[in-house]
């Protein structure tokens, strides 16, 4: 692996560019490099691993291991990745992805590395952008002292730190219990786990139970639940949740049935499942579809991970939630798909190698529907009933304001965004998009599939004006802006600072 530390070290052109160095991205990179493709992998974090295997290359496994064997599995993906013949740019932000304009052309990626922007071409691009936690907007969720369960796990993995003082976990889904178990093992003061799952989902999930019993996650999940319940108070059927405090979270108030209770806290960790990160795929105009089981939008892919736009692929949780093992297999599948499409391996070779991978993928998908349906967040946490709850954290737009705008009859989330600035801040809607869709769907009594979601445009991550200003200027672009062609003798000037 060649570490790229400044933008100038990047090649102009790669066979395959992979965005994201989690299990999907790392596996795809290894597969692609073995076939002799020139490969670039970029990731915004300082080290490979993604969120699930975050910092796996940084530590060695200790005796008092709180992260568990599943985490250290990451090393078996990261090791070949570190040894592969690839370019790896960490701490690198991809802010644009322009698909090829014609079939034989290249896609172009805009990225920023060490303070400089650069555009790089690739014949195929694999999006391995992973997932993010589904926003859980409750009163007080913007207070310091409140973060996602995933954030706490990141702190545990990356700097071996745990929340200080009385800590409450609230929400639903397997990760909530995994984290609770890990934090308890590490000595955190977990006062309670507040389970917000809708009990009605149990019945709906039942038909999918047989498949789940055969899934690799069954025994693991059961152990976790028992383990956590043995060590701390688990309260199910939570219907209201609010966090109070002046400049920092001080207490959590919740309701279960008719009873309301308040607990003092220093830290609140929220989690209600994960959803695909689709901003890059959306900005490249890839078709996006609603996944009712997972209650989220995801890019449409075919059996090889091909997106609807030629030359673009997606793998792993960014293409639909399936977990780390599933992501690693999908990464390899997408890489083989790309290699075969680019003619770097024969179709026959691809098919031979794909067959066992597809079988493995099927195995990891087994039982997924049960988890998805069982842990579907309860409606009041998808679409907050309290008007004062902040929905858009950047622009500080509240639920009540959104309801007023929806009431105007807006055709969809994009018009709503225009009217009330919801989703226009630096996070570019990542922390409000799912809630906005849910709120509109609820208010109109239709499926989120009918409502749709924000249409994203590059830059999908903030990029400094001076970096853009320093990029090469094409004659066509100068003409489009000034109405005049640049004189052949005079190059357009760089910024005169």
């Amino acid at each position: 692996m060649r570490r790229i530390t400044v933008a100038a070290e990047l090649a102009d052109h790669y066979d395959i560019a992979i965005i994201g160095a989690g299990p999907a991205g790392m596996s795809a990179a290894v597969e692609a490099s073995l076939a002799g493709a020139t490969v670039l992998v970029v990731d915004e974090n300082t080290a490979p691993g993604g969120q699930i295997y975050r910092a796996v290359t940084r530590h060695s496994r200790g005796h008092d291991d709180v992260l568990g064997a599943d985490y250290w599995k990451g090393a078996s993906i990261a090791d070949p990745f570190m040894a592969a013949t690839i370019d790896f740019a960490s701490s690198t932000t991809v802010w644009s992805l322009d698909p090829a304009e014609e079939p034989s052309a290249h896609a172009t990626i805009g990225l920023t590395l060490a303070g400089s922007a650069r555009r790089v071409e690739a014949r195929a691009v694999i999006l391995a952008t992973g997932a993010m936690e589904r926003p859980m907007p409750v009163p007080g969720w913007t207070l310091p002292g409140v973060m996602t369960a995933g954030a706490a796990q990141i702190a545990l993995k990356s700097i071996a730190a745990i929340p200080e003082g009385p800590t409450v976990l609230a929400g639903c889904g397997p990760l909530l219990y995994l984290l609770a178990s890990q934090l308890l093992k590490a000595g955190a003061d977990i006062t309670a786990v507040l389970d917000t799952a809708d009990a009605g989902q149990r019945l709906r999930a039942l038909p999918h139970l047989p498949a789940f019993l055969g899934s690799p996650y069954f025994a693991k999940g059961l152990r976790l639940l028992v383990d956590v319940r043995r060590q701390t108070r688990v309260i199910s059927g939570i219907t209201d949740l609010a966090i109070d405090g002046d400049a920092h979270a001080q207490s959590v108030t919740f309701r279960r049935g008719r009873r309301s209770e308040t607990l003092p806290v220093r830290t609140v960790l929220l989690h209600q499942g994960v959803i695909p990160s689709i901003n890059l795929a959306s900005s490249a105009d890839c078709a996006i579809r609603w996944n009712e089981h997972q209650r989220a939008f995801q890019p449409e892919i075919d059996h090889l991970g091909r997106l609807s736009v030629p030359g673009l692929f997606a793998a792993g949780d960014g293409a639909g939630i399936g977990g780390a093992d599933h992501a690693a297999v999908e990464g390899r599948i997408a890489a083989l798909g790309a290699l075969s499409d680019l003619g770097l391996i024969t179709q026959g070779e691809a098919e031979t190698r794909l067959a066992p991978l597809k079988q493995e993928r099927r195995r990891y998908r087994r039982g997924r529907a049960f988890l998805d349906i069982l842990y579907r967040p309860a409606q009041q946490f998808l679409s907050p009933p309290d008007d004062a709850t902040i929905i858009c954290r950047c622009e500080e737009v509240r639920a009540g304001q959104l309801r007023q705008v929806i009431e105007l009859g807006v055709p969809g989330p994009n018009q709503l965004k225009t009217f009330i600035r919801c989703g226009m801040g630096p996070c570019q809607g990542r922390l409000c998009a799912s809630t906005v869709t849910e709120m509109m769907a609820e208010q109109r009594g239709v499926s989120p599939a009918e409502i749709g979601t924000y249409r994203l445009r590059a830059p999908i991550k903030p990029v400094r004006l001076s970096e853009l200003a320093a990029l090469p200027q094409t004659e066509d672009a100068v003409f489009a802006v000034t109405g005049r062609r640049p004189e052949p003798s005079t190059n357009p000037k760089g910024p005169n600072l």
Partner: protein, 373 residues
């Protein structure tokens, strides 16, 4: 299937359509607005929010004066919207600059401004030509690459997104029946008006206003009107919010009342794509940083494009069908600047049943004339 006849249907709920609808409702009409879907091309969500007169109407004095009149009427519109909705659209008419990065640019603009003054017999908006030093005396943070500027005191801007919401809020308040996702596929003139046919059903309207942006071309032909359009894709960059630094506006860079800086603009004439073009972003950013070096470290947080609603000659079209009276069309690409005219002049005329002679310069016969040349 056929509902009872509606007084007035405005087809299009963008800035032009909603401004006219609100104006028609103020004139006492029962108005229905049929709007498209969330992802239809909408110039109203992509505009630069200027109330801008400078440089408009070279060779078209009627347009220069029409724009100027609207800018002068804008305080009245802002006040009326505030009265109706309590929404302040942050009108700021503190004057606008066009910053030239080379002498050629400045000379061209100056010649255009002089032509407009000449063609309007001196009735055009006033302006001043400033050299680089004079520009920096007024605006000390302007970069050394700026060789000069044109300044016009009448230019300004609003918060166009809030304007859009205010119009829709005002429509609701005045009982306008607004229906999103209500595409009109066909218009059939009938004896007592027009049958509007779409996937959601059939409506019958006594009178209609076509304010459907680029779709006007298609719809106009169905009622004996003519609205030929050209392609014009624009692109804008927006920065994160920052503390106020620029209390004026310019044609290519403005700070919104909320703090973000908008950077424009571009024109591509050969594409129907709506994705942003990073090559254009690079040029926009380059010019912005040369004009305002202090902005270099700002983060661009968003960018968008839009297809301008531009007629073949770039001027507005306002017309009532002669073959099918009661059908009006309104086309323009300056839905913000001209909003005051649309709400306070055009809408009352449509309500009264006829466009004034003063608007005849904006009829579509001008395209027939040019085609026969």
């Amino acid at each position: 299937m056929t509902a009872s006849s509606i007084d007035m249907v405005v087809i299009g709920g963008g800035l032009v359509g909603s401004t006219l609808a609100w104006g028609l409702a103020r004139a006492g009409l029962q108005v229905t607005v049929l709007d498209g879907t969330d992802l239809d091309p909408r110039a109203s969500r992509a505009n630069f929010a200027l109330v801008w007169v400078q440089g408009k109407g070279v060779g078209a004095p009627a347009y220069a004066l029409w724009s100027k009149a609207s800018a002068e009427r804008w305080p009245q519109l802002a006040a009326a919207l505030f009265d109706d909705t309590g929404i302040d659209v942050s009108l700021n008419q503190n004057g606008g600059f066009s910053f030239a990065l080379d002498q050629d640019e400045l000379d061209t603009w100056q010649a255009e401004m002089q032509a407009i003054v000449r063609e309007t017999n001196g009735r055009a908006a006033p302006f001043a030509v400033l050299n680089g030093t004079e520009t920096r005396e007024r605006l000390p943070f302007v970069g050394r690459d700026v060789v000069g500027s044109i300044y016009s005191p009448l230019d300004g801007h609003v918060n166009a997104l809030r304007l859009y919401r205010a119009l829709h809020t005002g429509m609701k308040q005045r009982g306008v029946d607004y229906r999103a996702g209500y595409a009109v596929e066909r218009i059939e003139p009938v004896s007592d008006g027009f049958r509007l046919i779409g996937p959601k059903g059939v409506l019958v309207a006594k009178r209609i206003v076509l304010a459907a942006g680029l779709d006007n071309t298609r719809l106009a032909e169905m009622v004996g009107l003519h609205a030929p359009m050209k392609r014009s894709k624009g692109q804008i960059l927006v920065t994160e919010k920052c503390a106020p630094f620029f209390d004026h506006t310019s044609a290519t860079l403005r700070q919104t009342d909320e703090g973000g800086v908008m950077i424009g603009d571009s024109e591509e004439t050969h594409t129907s794509a709506h994705a942003t073009n990073q090559d254009i972003s690079a040029v926009l950013a380059n010019r912005a940083v040369r004009t305002f070096p202090l902005l270099g470290d700002l983060n661009i947080v968003r960018s968008w494009t839009g297809q301008r609603v531009k007629s073949l000659d770039g001027l507005p079209i306002y017309e009532q069908s002669t073959t099918h009276p009661g059908a009006f069309v309104a086309v323009c690409h300056s839905g913000v600047t001209l909003a005051a005219n649309h709400a306070l002049v055009v809408a009352p005329q449509i309500a009264a049943g006829a466009l004034s002679h003063g608007l005849s310069a904006f009829g579509s016969q001008r395209f027939h004339a040019s085609q026969t040349v």
